[in-house]
Amino acid sequence: MEILGFMADALSPINLLLAVLGVAAGIVIGALPGLSATMAVAVLVPVTFGMPTEMALIMLGAIYTGAIYGGSYAAILINTPGTPSAIATTFDGYPMARRGDGDLAVTLSTLSSVIGGLVGAVALLTLAPLLAQIALKFGPVEYFWLAIFGLTMISALSEGSILKGFIGAGFGLLLSTVGVSVIGADIRYTFGSQFLLGGVEIISALIGLYCVPVLIDLVATPSAHLKPPEQKRGMRLAEGVGLMCKGKFNALRSSVIGVVVAIMPGAGGSIASLVSYSEARRASPHSERFGHGEPDGVIATETTNNAVVGGGFIPTFVLGIPGTPPDAVILGALLVQGFRTGPEMFTTNAQVTYTFIGGLFIATLVMLPLGLLIGRYAFKSIVSIPKALLVPSIAFMTIIGTYAIRNNPFDVVVMVVLGVLGWVLSRYGIKPSPIVLGLILGPIAEQGFVQGYLMGNASGSVMAIFFGRPLSLAIIALILISVAYPLWRAGRGRSSKEAAHEH
């Protein structure tokens, strides 16, 4: 019970205060498009130098948790993922907000984030060493197949024509190759511009592809951005709890997906939440409502991305390999503080580790009241601000946020150009999500493939490397199922179409 004692250390008044401050700051930073959780953590690192290690870690964990959750605000209210983990939250959160259920969506996202965060922290507390071993089993070939599996989600993400979805994904994959390549050190598709050397920055692409079209359509009509609620009401907490109870299996499945994907150092929160979104859609009896404001979609992605927080710490602490980019920053802060990761984290440094995990629990719980409070103000201010002020404010946030990602004014130009391109393409039926999916999965697929190919050449058989490893075969089976299932379902659905229409 020593562990519980260490965890209780996190409950001291000063630690609690730090957790509250961290979560609040995280929510605000995460809610701003462009300010990612990574940046929130990085900004805080120098502040923590003067603190005792436990306090520093509690505050870092709190700001990280808060930032991931805060990402959902921008996703729901202005269709812009505040952090990459919130991409899938836009799919249903924004339609909910447009039809006047923004408050409900924010409440659901709060409840889901708390649940996901708790599951992630429990996994970190109990299963860390075991799960870390799974992380190591993932080699280049597995990442390649994982990326292919990710691409099968196109069929779930592209509304309308799947053919156009694939073209969009191909466009995104090609965009991801711009810049200096990791393998081969080629300079690709930069056309002599030094600014394109660094490639298309993923967060600026997200802001452009999701937010700029909203702005473009926002100025075109005088009608309100979001439908205001009919009468004065709270944050619809009871309704939210009811929906959560109905969606408990969804929440549980999504949390598990979050933890599992998070422990793979090459994947991350964005992929985890996309996977759980498409799984939730597949499993739902109302899959046709997804993308049009289905509460289960918000529940799925928001539980997942907060489960990623705890899950990502597993390889970070056990192996010294950061699970997600913010973990990399926290790992750096740990090293500067003089801590070694690895088995010592659970033996000689156990006190620090368990106090930190305790802090993570507290930060997650603190998020509930704090999130509902801040969320209420965020919702109210977006609903009540006149359009003539809303448009420049959102535009301003996208511009400053994009610039701040890597202090590069050229990224702002890329963001705007991609946004306009995204808007034009969506008029032709290519939605932004497949493009984004391609952008995210491109590097994973490419590096996995070339590395796997090189490994195969060295061992004498490329086929054996790609098709001979048990884990690869398992992922290939998943791919086949996810391709075949919609076809089977469509076949079955046709015969019972009349029944479906009675909704």
Partner: protein, 160 residues
Amino acid sequence: MSTEMHSPRIDARRSDRCLASIMIAFALGALWFSKDMSIMGSIFPRAVAIMVLIFSVALLVRAFVSRPTLPVAEPGSVGRRLGLIAVLLVWGLSLRWLGFIASSLLCAGALVWLAHYHAWTLKRVMAYALVLIAIIAFFYTLFAVVLNVPLPVGDLWRAP
């Protein structure tokens, strides 16, 4: 997807043909510019470009043999849309020269004017200007002071 079926749709044959042609050109371009890359660097973009090419050709064929449809796009003022795009582009391009504050005040001001559909009264102008300046000041402080982001000062204002 099924709800979209009920929303009004338009014939997409022409727009699909146009899209497919652009994408074919795009894929061919990607293939052409991969010619002096190393094998390791070019294998992936080439494979993807060929995929895009195949799908685009399929789309082109489909646009000739069947009658694809698209949901009707959101209506609204084309002029204001183009105006917003222009302002955003100017904003992005002028950051380096005008500096963050000047360029933001200018472009944010232009967007207020673009997004406003009612009559302007002096009171409203004053109120909006104040709120807008407050918003910009708040975020500027947050980024430049609290988060230490080195926002561009503007080449124009620097000594030669």
